[in-house]
Symmetry: C2
Subunit: 211 residues, 2 copies
């Protein structure tokens, strides 16, 4: 009968911690409740559903990642900012693998809060890339390329996919990847014939797997 003093944030926070320990897919309400000193159905006073809990983790994660990226790039610009942001991104993802995975979940269609933090995080990246004077479609291409590059590397790394040839330093590989991306950006900013000035707009439907 004494109260545990839970609330939606506390639950999401502990869920995030637990997820980072055991993996997002092994986050279970039974053990989460146990960790919070409460019976399993009691969690429903603070969450809607498992999916809702995942969403809460995702929203927190997106916010945190966005802040990390912003902090890393403040005061820098151009290649310097890109490099700093890249390393901050990777560091955060590696130390919070499940939160990172959650941060890549697409917002549900009418979820304005989730949409907002998603856009905000991407906007940090967009702002940094603007240093290359890319506009319109070119900027979108660059943002997609940058996000893809980082996400691919980090998700392989957190999945342990680089244990092939484990003796080769992963830090060095990442460093070269980032340098390579910057080089690519340079070499392509010249040749680019851009047009429109489209930008981050609306959001689509649901997602699925998250591989």
């Amino acid at each position: 009968m004494p109260r545990a003093g839970l609330n939606r944030n506390r639950v999401a926070e502990e869920a995030a911690v637990m997820s980072d320990e055991v993996g997002l897919s092994r986050l279970t309400l039974a053990t989460l409740a146990e960790r919070l000193g409460v019976r399993q159905p009691s969690l429903y006073k603070h969450i809607d559903s498992m999916a809702g809990l995942h969403r809460d983790i995702a929203v927190h994660a997106k916010r945190a990642l966005g802040e990390v990226l912003a902090r890393a790039s403040v005061g820098r610009s151009g290649p310097d900012a890109i490099a700093a942001m890249s390393h901050a991104y990777r560091d955060w993802a590696v130390t919070h693998p499940a939160r990172y995975a959650a941060s890549n979940l697409m917002p549900a269609p009418g979820d304005v809060e989730d949409e907002a933090v998603s856009v905000a995080a991407i906007q940090v990246i967009a702002d940094v890339l603007t240093a290359y004077r890319l506009e319109g479609d070119d900027a979108v291409d660059a943002i997609r390329a940058f996000r893809s590059t980082l996400h691919g590397f980090v998700s392989y790394e957190t999945a342990g996919a680089f244990r092939w040839s484990a003796d080769v330093d992963v830090d060095r590989s990442f460093d070269r990847l980032v340098r390579g991306f910057i080089a690519a950006l340079d070499s392509w900013a010249e040749t680019s014939g851009h047009t429109l000035t489209t930008h981050l707009t609306t959001i689509g439907e649901d997602h699925d797997d998250r591989t």
Copy 2:
């Protein structure tokens, strides 16, 4: 009691098809059995477990993807081969999203068959990149970079993450990404101070999430 004529391959194949339709995480033994005209527990005559079924899907997928990549790069070399391979990779992944997700699952530690097909697929990439005379650690860096680049883009695309600014052509973005990677490779092959000649070797432990 007429027999359904199932076997391990047939089950894995139908599982792969169903996964591509509904998503790997929504692959369920109940509906899989139904699709195969059999009761759910009967599947266990052909599979070990859900995890085993995922492994079977993964092995098939890795083999298929490896063949697709090999076919795309045969007769080509250098940037041409990389571009062809990249587009084949993306096309296959987009048409088989769940198989693609499965293809990124790490092999379990003693699973020699899975390890073999995994290495084989990566080896196709390694062979193509060899055209740049990258050796040892440099080659490993390049392979990691290439796989990361493709995987990041494709997994975002299949997750629907590019619906931000949906009006910008995704094909074009991919094309530029690939060109950018090639440019990066060029610009870095020059500056590279390499050393060892390490290569694809052994495999590590288990995996987890597959974001």
